[in-house]
C-alpha cells in the first residue's frame, strides 16, 4: 500500500470510531452548552442524581438494586456529562446516549486515572415520574450507547453508572458512580434520512438526466451512438450458428433477478431470441435460478410470437439446471461439449465460473460474446471470448440493440451524468490542490470548499 494523502475530515470520528461527523459536531455543541450552563455537577461515590425537576442533587435513587457496603469504600470517581438525543435517520424507537468522563470533581482523580478505574458502564433510563431502570451496558472504552428500546414520544432521561474495576469479595464491582441525569430526549421517527441527502441529490440528478433525454428523444431529436463491437457481432454469431445448423447457447449468469446484471442479460435475451426465431436456429437457455427461468421463458416465448414464429417456440429451450454455482457450471459445460453450440452468449452476473465456461466454449470452437459488470471476471472473458461487453456496455446493450430513440435517449442521459461526474472530479481535485498549495493546513477558502464537497460525498 502506498501512503495516502491525509484526509482533512475523515469518514470516521476518531475516539468512538463510528460516529458520523455531524453527530460529533452536535455533541460538541451540546457539550459546550452543558458545561457553560453549570450543570456539570456529579455525584461522587454516592448514588446522587440531579433531580430532573429542580436541578438540585437528589439522594440515592429508589428502585435500583442496592449494592453492598464495600461499594462506598472504593468509589469510582468519574464526573460525567451525559447527553441524550434522538438517534437520527430512523423510524424512531432509539435514543443515542453519549457521555464524557470529566476532569474535575472534588479532589477526585482526573479523567485518565478515572478511566483506569472503570470496568464498564451501566445505562439507566427513566421517564417522567418513573424510577430509573437499566436499559443496557457498555464496555469501559465506549462513550456512547444507542438505546433501541425507547418508545416514541416519551421524554426519557439517562444516567450513566460507572462501575469500578475493583471487585468486592462477592465478585460484584466494588463501587460505582452515577452521573447526573441527561436532559430529556424523545425518540422520534424521521421522514427523511438526512445522511442520505447526497444519495437523493445524485439520484435526482442521474434519473433526471436520463428522463430528460428520453423525453427529448421522444420528440425526435437525432442521437449518435458509438459502435459497440460486441453487439455488432450478435447478428453474425446467430447467422453463423444458423449456417452450421448448430444451436445458440445463451447463459444468463448465475444470479437471480434482484441482481441488476441479470436484468440486463434478460433484456438482451429478448433481442437474441428474436434473431434466433427469425432464422429458426435452435436456442438453449440453461438457467441457475428458477425466477430467471420463468422470466426467460416469458421473454423467449414472446420473442417468437413477435416475429410470427410462435409455432416454432420450443418450451424445452429454457431449462433450470441447479442453483448451485458449480453444479450449474458442470451442467452447462456438459451441454457445451455435447450439443456443440456455434454461438455462446455469456451475459449477466458471473463469478469464478466465468473462465470455466469461456474456456470450454473456446475449446468447442464456438464464437463467444460475453459481458458482465463484475470487474473481477472481465479479464477472463476478455482473454477467452471473441467479444466482451465491459460494465456499462452490458447495460447499454438492450438500448443499442433496440435502436429505439427512447432507449438511446437514456444512453445520452447516462453520458450527461458521466460528463458532470468527470467535471466534478477534475474541478474538485484542482480546487483542492490549489487550496492546499495556498494553505497546507487547509484554512484557505478553496481548501475548505474542497473539504466541504468531499465531506458531502462522505455523507457528513
Amino acid at each position: 500500500m502506498r501512503e495516502r494523502v491525509p484526509t482533512p475530515i475523515g469518514r470516521r470520528f476518531a475516539p468512538a470510531g463510528r460516529a458520523p461527523v455531524h453527530v460529533a459536531a452536535l455533541l460538541a455543541v451540546l457539550g459546550v452548552l452543558a458545561l457553560t450552563s453549570g450543570n456539570a455537577l456529579s455525584a461522587v461515590g454516592e448514588r446522587l442524581v440531579v433531580d430532573p425537576e429542580t436541578g438540585s442533587l437528589a439522594p440515592a435513587l429508589a428502585g435500583t438494586t442496592p449494592r453492598s457496603d464495600e461499594a462506598r469504600e472504593t468509589p469510582v470517581a468519574c464526573p460525567m456529562h451525559v447527553y441524550a438525543s434522538d438517534a437520527p435517520d430512523d423510524a424512531g424507537g432509539a435514543i443515542r446516549v453519549s457521555w464524557e468522563l470529566g476532569t474535575t470533581g472534588d479532589g477526585t482523580p482526573g479523567s485518565e486515572g478515572c478511566e483506569a478505574d472503570v470496568a464498564g458502564f451501566e445505562i439507566l433510563r427513566f421517564a417522567p415520574g418513573e424510577d430509573p431502570v437499566p436499559v443496557g451496558e457498555a464496555p469501559a472504552t465506549d462513550r456512547h450507547f444507542v438505546d433501541a428500546s425507547a418508545e416514541n414520544g416519551i421524554p426519557y432521561q439517562y444516567i450513566i453508572r460507572a462501575l469500578s474495576s475493583v471487585a468486592s469479595p462477592n465478585g460484584e464491582p466494588a463501587g460505582f458512580a452515577d452521573s447526573i441525569a441527561s436532559d430529556a430526549a424523545t425518540a422520534t421517527a424521521q421522514w427523511f434520512a438526512m445522511s442520505r441527502l447526497n444519495a437523493l441529490v445524485v439520484m435526482l440528478f442521474v434519473c433526471g438526466a436520463v428522463m430528460f433525454y428520453i423525453a427529448r428523444a421522444r420528440e425526435g431529436s437525432d442521437l449518435y451512438i458509438r459502435r459497440i463491437p460486441g453487439l455488432e457481432a450478435v447478428d453474425d454469431a446467430v447467422g453463423r450458428a444458423t449456417e452450421m445448423g448448430r444451436p445458440v447457447l445463451y447463459v444468463p449468469g448465475i444470479e437471480t433477478v434482484s441482481e441488476v446484471g441479470t436484468l440486463a442479460a434478460l433484456t438482451i435475451l429478448g433481442h437474441v431470441a428474436k434473431k434466433v426465431a427469425q432464422h429458426g436456429t435452435p436456442l438453449l437457455v440453461p438457467t441457475a435460478d428458477p425466477i430467471v427461468m420463468t422470466t426467460a421463458q416469458e421473454i423467449v416465448k414472446q420473442a417468437y410470437a413477435e416475429v410470427g414464429q410462435s409455432d416454432r417456440y420450443d418450451p424445452h429451450s429454457v431449462t433450470y439446471v441447479t442453483y448451485d454455482q458449480f453444479g450449474y457450471t458442470a451442467g452447462v459445460d456438459g451441454i457445451m461439449v455435447r450439443e456443440r453450440p456455434e454461438a455462446v452468449f455469456l451475459l449477466g452476473y458471473f463469478a469464478a465460473e466465468s473462465l470455466i465456461l469461456a474456456e470450454t466454449g473456446h475449446a468447442i470452437g464456438a464464437i463467444q460474446i460475453s459481458g458482465t459488470k463484475e470487474t473481477s471476471q472481465l479479464p477472463f472473458f476478455v482473454a477467452a471470448c471473441d467479444y466482451t461487453l465491459i460494465g456499462e456496455e452490458l447495460f447499454a446493450a438492450s438500448s443499442y440493440l433496440s435502436h429505439e430513440p427512447v432507449m438511446l435517449g437514456s444512453l445520452k442521459g447516462q453520458d450527461f451524468a458521466k460528463f458532470w461526474i468527470v467535471v466534478l472530479i477534475v474541478a474538485a481535485v484542482a480546487v483542492g490542490t490549489i487550496g492546499y498549495a495556498i494553505s497546507p493546513d487547509g484554512s484557505s477558502l478553496p481548501a475548505r470548499a474542497f473539504d466541504a464537497v468531499k465531506t458531502w460525498f462522505a455523507g457528513g
Binding site: 444519495a199 433484456t267 429478448g270 420473442a303 460494465g391 437514456s410
Partner: protein
C-alpha cells in the same frame, strides 16, 4: 389488463423500494426489508417450478432412451436421496445442516468435493488461457501481458529475490492503475444499472412481459 397490471406492480415495487431507502418513518422505513422477505418467499415457491422443469427434462430423456439416458437416472437418484436425507435431518435433528444429520454426508462427501474440484479446474484453464491470450500482438495486448507478468512475479517470493522492483511494482499496479480502471468501470456500470433500472420501473424496458 394482462400488461398493465404487471407494469403497475413493477412500478410500485420499484418506487416504494426507492422511497423506503430515504424515508425511515413507518410504515415506509421497514418496507424495504419487508419486500425483500417477500422476494425470498416468492423465490422459494418458484424453486418448485425449477425443480419440476429439471425433473421433467430428465424423465423425458429416460422415457425416450436418449443416448446416455442412464445418466439421467443417476441425476434423479441423487436428487431423491438428497431430498429424503434433508427431510430426515429436519425431522430428527431439527435442521438438515445439523452436524449429526445424514444430510451432512451428502454435503461432506459429494457437494464439497464436487464444488471444490469444479472450481479447481480453473487452475488449469487459467494456465491455458494465459498461454493462448497473452501474446504481444499489439500495444494494448502487450500492456495486458506485461502487467500480468509483473503482478505474477510480484506475488511470489522469487520475484522479490530477483528484484525488489517486482513486489513494489505489483503493489503499485494493483493500487493505482488497476484501482483506477476498476473504479471507472464501476462508476460507469453503476450509472448504466441505474438507468436500466429506471427504464424498467418506468415501463420503457419491458421485454420480460411485453
Amino acid at each position: 389488463m394482462k400488461r398493465s397490471i404487471p407494469l403497475a406492480i413493477t412500478f410500485l415495487t420499484g418506487v416504494f423500494l426507492v422511497i423506503s431507502f430515504f424515508v425511515p418513518h413507518e410504515p415506509l422505513g421497514a418496507l424495504e426489508q419487508r419486500l425483500l422477505i417477500w422476494f425470498s418467499i416468492v423465490s422459494g415457491f418458484t424453486m418448485l417450478l425449477g425443480v419440476d422443469n429439471l425433473l421433467r427434462t430428465h424423465i423425458r430423456k429416460i422415457g425416450r432412451r436418449n443416448s446416455g439416458w442412464w445418466h439421467s437416472g443417476f441425476l434423479l437418484l441423487g436428487f431423491a436421496a438428497t431430498v429424503v436425507l434433508g427431510v430426515l435431518g429436519r425431522i430428527h435433528h431439527g435442521s438438515p445442516f445439523h452436524m449429526q444429520s445424514p444430510f451432512m454426508f451428502v454435503y461432506t462427501y459429494s457437494i464439497v468435493p464436487l464444488q471444490g474440484t469444479m472450481f479447481a479446474l480453473l487452475a488449469f484453464f487459467i494456465a491455458s488461457a494465459s498461454y493462448r491470450a497473452f501474446r504481444a500482438r499489439n500495444t494494448v495486448a502487450t500492456l495486458l501481458l506485461v502487467s500480468a507478468v509483473i503482478v505474477m512475479l510480484g506475488r511470489i517470493p522469487i520475484g522479490a529475490a530477483i528484484s525488489e522492483f517486482f513486489p513494489a511494482a505489483q503493489e503499485w499496479i494493483m493500487d493505482v492503475p488497476q484501482l483506477a480502471a476498476k473504479r471507472g468501470i464501476q462508476i460507469g456500470a453503476a450509472l448504466g444499472a441505474v438507468s436500466m433500472s429506471l427504464r424498467i420501473i418506468l415501463g420503457i424496458e419491458r421485454s420480460y412481459l411485453s
